[in-house]
C-alpha cells in the first residue's frame, strides 16, 4: 500500500473545518497582488547579466563573462585557480555546442583526472565526486536577482556533481537568464501541466554553502562546495 491512513486522517481534518471532505480540484480565487512579477520586469538579457554579476559579490561567488570561443580558456584558468587535479562534470547535451567536450579531453591530456557523469559507472560517480577538486555543470535556468543557478538533475547530471567536490563551476548560457525564481517556477508549473513531469531533483544553487551556526559568524564552505565560480557565456 503506497498511501496509508489517508481517509480517516482527511475526514478528521474536514470535520474540524466543519464541512464535507473536498476531493475535487478546488477553485483558486484570484490574488489581489503579484509583486513577484515586477522585479526586473523590463530588463534585457544584458541587464540581467549585470544584475547577476553584481549580486555575486553578496553571495561570495566569483563571476566571469566570456564568449563560446573563449570558454575553454576561462574554464582552464578557473580549474587551475582551484588547484584542480580531479574534475567531474555533467554529461550535458550542450557540452558539444559550447566546446566543452574537447576541453574535457584536453584536461585529461594535461594529466587532470576526469570523470564525465556516467550512469553505467554507478556508485563510482559519487566516490569520484567525493574526492574531486572541481565539479562542473551547466545552469538550466539562471535567476538574476538572487544569483542562483537552477539544475534539473537527471541521469547525466547527478546531484553530487554540484555538491560533493571542494569547488563548483557553473556554466551559464546568457539565454538561461531570467529575472527571478518566479519565472523558473512558472516554467516548471507549465511543463508539469503539459504532462512533462518535473525532474526527481531540482536544485536551486546560490553560491557556496555556508553556515552562521557558530557565534553568528558567517563561515563559507560547510557541507557543500567551499568556492564557486559562475561563467556567463554570450
Amino acid at each position: 500500500m503506497s498511501i496509508q491512513n489517508r481517509d480517516s486522517f482527511l475526514q478528521n481534518v474536514a470535520n474540524h473545518l466543519g464541512r464535507p471532505r473536498k476531493t475535487e480540484q478546488v477553485e483558486r480565487s484570484s490574488f489581489t497582488v503579484a509583486p513577484q512579477w515586477e522585479v526586473f520586469k523590463d530588463h534585457t538579457q544584458d541587464e540581467l547579466a549585470d544584475e547577476l554579476e553584481a549580486h555575486c559579490k553578496v553571495i561570495h561567488t566569483t563571476c566571469k563573462r566570456t564568449t563560446v570561443s573563449e570558454l575553454p580558456h576561462v574554464l582552464w584558468e578557473t580549474v587551475k585557480g582551484y588547484d584542480g587535479k580531479s574534475v567531474i562534470a555533467s554529461d550535458d547535451k550542450r557540452n558539444d555546442a559550447f566546446g566543452v567536450t574537447s576541453f574535457y579531453k584536453e584536461l585529461e591530456e594535461q594529466g587532470v583526472e576526469f570523470q564525465l557523469w556516467n550512469p553505467s559507472d554507478g556508485h563510482y560517480n559519487m566516490e569520484f565526486a567525493e574526492r574531486a577538486d572541481v565539479g562542473i555543470t551547466f545552469s538550466d535556468i539562471t535567476l538574476a536577482e538572487s544569483g542562483t543557478v537552477t539544475l534539473f538533475n537527471n541521469s547525466g547530471n547527478g546531484r553530487a556533481i554540484s555538491l560533493l567536490p571542494r569547488t563548483y563551476i557553473a556554466i551559464i548560457p546568457k539565454s538561461t537568464l531570467v529575472p527571478r525564481m518566479t519565472q523558473a517556477a512558472k516554467h516548471i508549473h507549465d511543463a508539469n501541466q503539459d504532462g512533462h513531469p518535473v525532474s526527481s531533483c531540482v536544485s536551486f544553487i546560490t553560491g557556496p554553502s555556508n553556515s552562521a551556526d557558530i557565534e553568528m559568524n558567517l563561515i563559507v564552505g560547510v557541507h557543500g562546495p567551499v568556492e564557486v565560480t559562475y561563467i556567463i557565456v554570450e
Binding site: G147, C201, P225
Partner: protein
C-alpha cells in the same frame, strides 16, 4: 508530550536563561543582525506589504482547502514511487519511521534540521529502538553531542560560544585545533562526510510540499539536506500537515518570504526540491522514498479562531523582534517552538496545562505581528489565549492574578489592542521606578531579579526597542 523540552518550571528556565550571560548577549546580537538583515531585504524587495499580502492569501487558501491539497500531494508522491503515511499522532509517526528503519536493517540514520522531528521526539524514538541518529546541521550536531535542545529555529546553537564548541569537539571527537569558526567547521565537514557516506537512511523535514507535482522542498544554507537526500538509499521526509504550497509558483513566493524574513537573504544557498524516488537510470538520490505527514494536534486548530497560526512558515522573524525573547532566550519557553509563535502554538498543540505562562511571555508590543511575513496576528492570538486561560479555564496562579485581570480587560475591548503598548505601560506602572521595572509580577520577576528590564516607554515599545538598539551600537 515531546513538544515539551523538560520538567523544569517556566520560572526556573527564565532564571537560568538570564543567568547565562553569554547567551543573553548572543541572543540579542543575533536578534539585531537577523532583524536588520530582514529589514534590508524587505526594503530591497520594494513593495514588501504586497509580498506579505500575497503570502497571506496563499496560506489562507491552502489551509481552507487543506484536505484536498493533502490528497493531491499524496497522490503525486505515490505516482513518483514514494510511499505516504498519514500520522495522527507523534507515536504513529515514530512507529512508522522506526519500522522503515528496521526493515532496512539500517544502523545509521543521518538527519537534517527539522522542527517537526524535534516536536515528535523522533530521535529519542529511533535511539530507543537501537539506531544511531546523526544530526548533520552544524548547529544541531553540536547540540546533539551535548544533549542540549535547540534554542532558536534558524540557528539552534545560538546559546553556545566557540570556546564551548571547541571543548565539546575535543572531549567528544578528539578535536585538536583552535576555536576559530572556520577550523571548527572544517572539522565538522570531515567528520560528517564519513557519516553521510556510511548512512543507510536519511531523514529530513520539509519546508514546503508542492502539491501539484509532489515535490518536497528544503531551504538550507549548509548543504546537509542535499547530502541527506542524495546519498542514502532510503529517504524519509517528515512534515507537519500544514506545510503545503499548492503550486510551484506559490512555493516560490513562500520561499522568497521565508529567506528574506528569516535571514535577510534573497535566497539561501540551496533550495532543493525532490520528487519521489530517483529515476531508472539515475545513480544518486533515494531508491526508496517515504513521506510522513503529521497531524499531532494541528487539526484541532483548524476551524478555530487560531487557524491562522497554522499559516506559519517558520521564519523566526517574530522571535527576532521579540523583546521578551531577547531577555530570556529560547529555552525559557520550554517548547521546541520558542518566541511569539511558540507562545501561540505550543498551548494549542500541547494544551494549556503545561504552558499556561507562555501567552504571558509577551509585552503585546505587536512587533511580532508587524514582522510576520504571512501576517499572522500573533499578539492578538496571545491576548485570546490569556482570555481563555483566565476566563474559561480559571487556572491562573495567584501571583499572576492581577496581571491577568488587566490583560483580560484589554482583551474584552477590541479597540484596546491597538493601544497595547500604551496599556502595557499603564499596567506595569505599580512596579515601575524611573522607567525601569524592578519587581514585576509572575514571570517578569524571573528576569527583573537579575537585570533591570526597562518599562515600555511613553512612545511605544517598538520605538524604545529601536532606540535601545541604537544605544547598543553606540549611535
Amino acid at each position: 508530550m515531546p513538544i515539551k523540552l523538560g520538567e523544569a518550571s517556566y520560572k526556573e528556565r527564565i532564571q537560568s536563561g538570564i543567568e547565562n550571560d553569554f547567551m543573553r548577549g548572543a541572543v540579542s546580537s543575533a536578534q539585531g543582525r537577523f532583524r536588520s538583515g530582514r529589514l534590508k531585504a524587505a526594503e530591497e524587495l520594494g513593495n514588501w506589504e504586497d509580498w506579505r499580502t500575497r503570502g497571506e492569501e496563499i496560506r489562507t487558501h491552502t489551509l481552507e482547502n487543506i484536505d484536498f491539497y493533502l490528497q493531491q500531494l499524496s497522490d503525486e508522491v505515490s505516482k513518483r514511487g514514494g510511499k505516504v503515511f498519514f500520522a495522527e499522532t507523534a507515536e504513529e509517526a515514530n512507529e512508522y519511521i522506526n519500522n522503515v528503519v528496521k526493515e532496512k536493517e539500517a544502523k545509521k540514520v543521518v538527519k537534517s534540521k527539522s522542527m517537526v522531528t524535534e516536536e515528535i521526539g523522533l530521535n529519542e524514538a529511533l535511539e530507543e529502538a537501537g539506531s544511531e541518529v546523526i544530526e548533520t546541521d552544524l548547529g544541531e550536531w553540536i547540540l546533539q553531542m551535548d544533549e542540549d535542545p535547540p534554542s532558536h529555529i534558524v540557528t539552534p546553537a545560538l546559546h553556545k560560544n566557540k570556546e564551548q564548541i571547541r571543548e565539546t569537539f575535543a572531549s567528544k571527537k578528539g578535536y585538536k585545533n583552535s576555536d576559530m569558526p572556520e577550523e571548527l567547521a572544517t572539522f565538522a565537514r570531515e567528520q560528517l562526510r564519513k557519516e553521510f557516506l556510511s548512512a543507510d537512511v536519511g531523514i529530513t523535514g520539509c519546508n514546503f510540499a508542492v502539491t501539484e507535482s509532489g515535490a518536497i522542498t528544503f531551504v538550507t544554507n549548509e548543504g546537509n539536506a542535499r547530502l541527506v537526500t542524495s546519498l542514502p538509499d532510503t529517504q524519509i521526509s517528515v512534515m507537519g500537515m500544514e506545510r503545503l504550497a499548492p503550486t510551484w509558483e506559490d512555493m516560490e513566493v513562500l520561499v522568497s518570504l521565508l529567506t528574506r524574513a528569516a535571514v535577510g537573504q534573497k535566497l539561501t544557498s540551496y533550495v532543493t526540491a525532490i520528487t519521489g524516488t530517483r529515476l531508472e537510470d539515475e545513480v544518486d538520490g533515494p531508491e526508496e522514498y517515504h513521506l510522513v505527514i503529521v497531524d499531532n494536534g494541528r487539526s484541532k486548530i483548524l476551524g478555530t479562531e487560531f487557524q491562522s497560526a497554522l499559516h506559519c512558515i517558520r521564519c523566526a522573524a517574530c522571535i527576532n523582534v521579540c523583546p521578551v525573547y531577547r531577555h530570556v532566550g529560547g529555552h525559557s519557553y520550554n517548547s521546541v517552538y520558542p518566541g511569539p509563535i511558540g507562545a501561540v502554538l505550543t498551548p494549542l498543540l500541547d494544551g494549556y496545562d503545561d504552558h499556561k505562562e507562555l501567552p504571558y511571555a509577551s509585552t503585546l508590543c505587536a512587533a511580532c505581528t508587524d514582522a510576520c511575513p504571512v501576517k499572522i496576528p500573533l499578539h492578538e492570538q496571545l491576548i485570546r489565549h490569556r482570555e481563555i486561560i483566565v476566563e474559561r479555564e480559571k487556572k491562573s496562579p495567584k501571583s499572576e492574578q492581577m496581571m491577568m485581570e488587566g490583560f483580560a480587560q484589554w482583551a474584552s475591548h477590541p479597540a484596546a489592542y491597538k493601544l497595547s503598548a500604551r496599556m502595557a505601560r499603564t499596567s506595569l506602572k505599580p512596579w515601575t521606578k524611573d522607567e525601569i521595572i524592578k519587581n514585576g509580577p509572575g514571570p517578569l520577576k524571573g528576569w527583573t531579579d537579575v537585570r533591570d528590564f526597562p518599562a515600555p516607554s511613553k512612545q511605544s515599545f517598538r520605538s524604545w526597542f529601536k532606540s535601545r538598539q541604537k544605544k547598543e551600537r553606540g549611535q
